[in-house]
Symmetry: C2
Subunit: 191 residues, 2 copies
């Protein structure tokens, strides 16, 4: 819980009252490796903050091919934003790739919280601005980078977890084939 | 200007005071076909709302290859979110693909406006939630759809403008080759 408070406190002053209220609405959960925290066809609207470990959101096609939207490590948020912010059921699932600890806030509770503490709206808008910029960057990278450049980008963000993330998942995040990933890795070792 | 007020009024009540203030900070601009409203290496932080016409944001590589991030038509917003929300210069340019009319709000003025009318924060947070969901959908589509499915998706949103958008730009938005786009179109005509 303190991890999230520290994360907030970097940008906003948190009164004891706010801190108390946050502690009431936030649930800490330990997840085992492989556990699903959101499954397909769910309407669970939750914000998930990673305290430790590594999580992944992904979409599985009818032919069981997986596409990884996001990995999330310490101090990152992960959610299915379509389920959160539209009336649709989730097409995305979220799993824990390691044993991990997460903090969960339901979207309904967060909506109430905004009403109680309007200053938090400002803070959250700024967070969303950063998230929008990050999502645009991901789109631009998917469209414009070569497979090798995409992998370098991935390593900048997730190097610590490279060993625990299966190859096919890394490839599915980068939008490249596992064969292409394996070729890029060999090249990197050479250089 | 009224187009934007109507757009806002669908979700939020706009007092005469707010309306008056918005009219002070919003600039209407007519753009000719081909005009650049944001160029690369700019630090211009502006929100652009499309009243009529079609705009495009894109990234041009060193080898002059273009990657299209977004098209925007009537009642859509377009910006380079990285320039808007980070300290970086734009790597993206925004051009008008047709003669068009846009409304522009500078990010600084919008920040002041939020302070004057905190209710607007709530409205904007909800807009951002929708935008985040839409950006996630674009990422998921880029990763998981076949070229033909991507094109069908494109046609749902932009059919009216299909004729005015050059083929290479549509292909660069879908992340496919112009050859692949032309094959898909032929298939569609057959079916």
């Amino acid at each position: 819980m303190n991890e999230l408070l520290d994360y907030f406190k970097k940008d906003i002053s948190i009164s004891l009252e706010i801190e108390h209220r946050l502690k009431e609405i936030i649930i800490e959960k330990k997840l085992e490796k492989g556990a699903l925290i959101l499954s397909e066809n769910s309407i669970k609207k939750e914000h998930i903050f990673v305290v430790s470990g590594c999580l992944r959101s992904f979409y599985k096609t009818e032919k069981a091919k997986e596409h990884t939207i996001q990995f999330a490590v310490k101090n990152w948020w992960i959610s299915d934003y379509m389920t959160l912010y539209t009336a649709n059921k989730s097409v995305v699932a979220i799993e824990s790739l390691t044993n991990s600890t997460v903090l969960i806030i339901s979207n309904d509770k967060l909506d109430e919280f905004y009403k109680e503490f309007p200053d938090f709206e400002v803070f959250q808008r700024k967070n969303f601005e950063k998230r929008i910029a990050a999502l645009q960057t991901r789109i631009l990278n998917l469209l414009s980078l070569t497979a090798a450049e995409k992998y370098n980008q991935f390593m900048k963000n997730y190097e610590v977890f490279e060993k625990v993330i299966p190859n096919y998942q890394i490839a599915s995040y980068l939008g490249i084939t596992p064969q292409s990933l394996s070729r890029i890795r060999k090249e990197r070792v050479k250089n």
